[in-house]
Amino acid sequence: MTLLWSIVRFLNGCVLALLLVQSVIYLWQLVVAFIELRHHRRGASRADPWWMLTSGVALPISILVPAHNEEETIVENVRSMLALHYPDFEVIVINDGSKDRTLAVLVEALGLQKIERVWHADVEHQEIRALYGSPRHPRLLVVDKVNGGKSDALNAGINLSRFPLFCAVDADSLLDHDSLLQVMRPFIEEPEEMVAVGGRICIVNGCTVRAGQVTDIALPARPLPLLQSIEYIRAFLIARLAWSRLDAMLIISGAFGLFKRSAAVKVGGYSHDTVGEDMEIVVKLHRHFRERDQKYQMRFVADSVCWTQAPETLGVLRRQRTRWQRGMMQTLAKHRLMVFNPKYGPAGTLGMGYFFLFDIIGPVVELAGLLLVPFSFYMGEVTPHFFLAWVALTFTYGVFLSASSLLLEMMVTRTTRPRDLALLAMSAVLENFGYRQLNNLWRLEGIWQFLTGKQGWGAMQRTKFRKSAGT
């Protein structure tokens, strides 16, 4: 029994140590993110969208939109993309073997016809059945292919694209009209070294969408998307910004990322053997350039916004989070050589090391702490000081960070309603009591699914965007 308590006490010590290190790293990230945002905002004001539109500096972009069973929203999304403010771009929609009427609604609504286009298989993907285009929409190309998953669809899009940059955008997402101009900025500053740039993802639930544009920004009415809103703000405005400044950014969201085509082709495009293809391609790029000792850069742009639908039910959210965890585990396992390896620079030591410690070990330890520490305290095996320190580290720091991320949000978004900020502030507190723990549980489930070799994405629900009255 004494041995058992010794083990429990040791585990409790580990829990506290990990929480302490995590809190210090979060605070450091917060400071770095603040510095980066200040720097970025001053630089951003220099790149006037009008100048970018008219000066000829903006490089042409192929927007790749993989679509699988998206009949509800695809037409509106494609129309919104065709109306983006950007000098030279093409939209390539890849119908990845949808079982619903995705292709049919596109053909009907946009007057598409079968066309020919010469292309080269730079990266692997499933067979392409047909290509569609329309003289009414010369910028649009629709690819109908055999189902092979999102990575496979994106690879087909890469092969068919003819511009030096491609932008991967989810079919259920909407871009702000000047998002492409904003996300392009790092490529204007560093056209040779820049290989990838990520934009910010915001939750569209609750917002009003008209003609494919978010016309009225509002918070989701339902609690689950609301909690995800603060989670996204924290993830993008603290973690992503900080990692970007430290050259350790390992994820560019699959919903919105701009890549140099030649760099993506060099690493073989998107991998088929992972469900976290967005993280994997970024890690592959880091690995490729580091192993060849070539200079490269990747950046995150906080004011380039993509709107996406957040899951509104626990079941769908659970599937999404377990899949994210599985994808991250697959990437870490595949590139385990990079973890804490100084050869791979900040991406290996900081980025991969962080993911390993706090996204794989972290959830296990945090949940173990939730069970063990209160129990040990109840049994008199840990002192009240220890118990209070654990409570402080578990809850206070989390609330502080979420609240601080709202300060950063204010720096980026200038017109949030005070009522919405108050709601976000409330969510910042509440998410630490239940939601965060639930997320950890799903992460554990994701780890389990990875260990047992589960594959596949699981079904996601798509709903039409909320329109304003009179539309």
Binding site: D48, E189, K295, A403, T416, L421
Partner: protein, 377 residues
């Protein structure tokens, strides 16, 4: 103080900070929203007043009488947005209005601000005022320690067609971190035909290769045919490693980026820049260089040369373009096929012949392109 006590105190402090942050966030945002709304309304009415002045300049005293001291900031923002979108007489009237309202003087004073972004903003607006005092201030700003201010000043000077010396601009812009920035390229492209002689001097002088590339790109975009002979000379004698073979080039590609960007091995980038410039200039004197570039060891140069050949529209390129349909690199084959198609009937006939040939590479690209363009194979 014990370790746990420290954690307690720190967490207590953070809890207090959290409350304060949340309060500040909500209260500050409500003030900010109010100000944003007020500014938007005021901007709207200022815009209406400004438009009235543009239509009827005699309206100015009435306009001035309606202004409040805090309107100056809004007016500078408003006009900075408006000016790039208006032309000719309208632009002149707006500039005149700004001058009469003291906004030029305000911007000149702002050039001395200790905040670099304010200096950069002022430099951008001053780019609309054609007068010696402004030009002196902008020239001084070319030596600003902050690169963004130097860039804005250079852009403003090019807009005013008041760049005193291209060499001076090169010294201030092309040796900084932003050398590769497309923004710097755009400034050089905007120099106009008045700067051609100086740009030619730059490409003929002993300057680093990235500066030559910048000048080459600018000469191409300015579109002055005087640049052609110098560009052709540059193409044939690109630098210290002019005659590289494809094997040498491939060996270099494996080296570190820092090494590759040294002048000894960057002639590929220069040849590419010359080809890009020639494809904009479209001058018959460049035919021989284009034909030579179609056999360049580097695929990017061959592909660009194919595009260049189609721009020039000379049938003399057809035999070499036909050869490029068999190239090992797909993008070269593609550009060669596109070039042949653009060359008209003779090119299309070449493509039809290639589409029916036994060479899989040539048949694929030629047939594919013809089908894409709606030609039956």
């Amino acid at each position: 103080m014990g370790f746990y006590t420290l954690i307690h105190w720190v967490s207590l402090a953070l809890a207090g900070a959290t409350l304060a942050i949340l309060l500040v966030v909500v209260v500050r945002q409500s003030f900010r929203n109010r100000r944003t709304k007020r500014d938007a309304l005021r901007r709207q009415s200022l815009m209406a007043l400004a438009l009235e002045y543009i239509e009827e300049p005699e309206f100015f005293p009435a306009f001035k009488a309606q202004l409040k001291p805090e309107d100056q900031r809004l007016l500078v923002e408003l006009f900075a947005e408006l000016l790039p979108k208006v032309r000719g007489d309208y632009a002149e009237k707006v500039v005149q209005l700004m001058r009469e309202m003291g906004l030029r003087d305000r911007c000149l004073a702002q050039m001395h601000s200790h905040k670099w972004w304010k200096r950069a903003d002022a430099a951008a607006v001053l780019g609309w005022f054609q007068d010696p005092e402004v030009i002196t201030a902008l020239e001084r700003a070319l030596d600003d320690p902050q690169v963004e201010v130097r860039l804005e000043a250079a852009r403003a000077l090019t807009q005013l067609k008041a760049v005193q010396s291209v060499a001076g601009l090169v010294a201030r812009l092309a040796v900084v971190d932003a050398t590769h920035s497309l923004g710097v390229k755009e400034i050089f492209r905007s120099l106009g035909s008045g700067a051609v002689s100086e740009l030619l001097g730059v490409i003929e002088s002993d300057v680093p290769e990235h500066v030559k590339i910048l000048a080459t790109d600018a000469l191409g975009h300015i579109g002055d045919p005087r640049a052609v002979p110098a560009l052709l000379k540059l193409f044939h004698k690109p630098g210290r490693s002019g005659g590289d073979t494809i094997h040498e080039h491939k060996a270099r590609r494996g080296r570190a980026y820092s090494e590759r960007s040294q002048p000894t091995n960057s002639s590929v980038a220069l040849r590419l820049a010359v080809m890009q410039a020639l494809s904009v200039l479209v001058d018959p004197r460049s035919l021989d260089a284009i034909l030579a570039a179609l056999e360049d060891p580097v695929w990017e140069v061959r592909a660009q040369a194919a595009h260049c050949a189609s721009q020039l529209g000379s049938d003399a390129a057809i035999p070499r373009l036909e050869t490029l349909l068999h190239d090992e690199h797909w993008w070269v084959r593609f550009h060669a096929a596109e070039a042949l198609f653009k060359l008209g009937e003779a090119g299309v006939q070449s493509l039809l012949k290639a589409a029916r040939s036994t060479s899989a590479r040539a048949a694929d690209i030629a047939g594919g392109l013809l089908r894409e363009k709606g030609v039956a194979v």
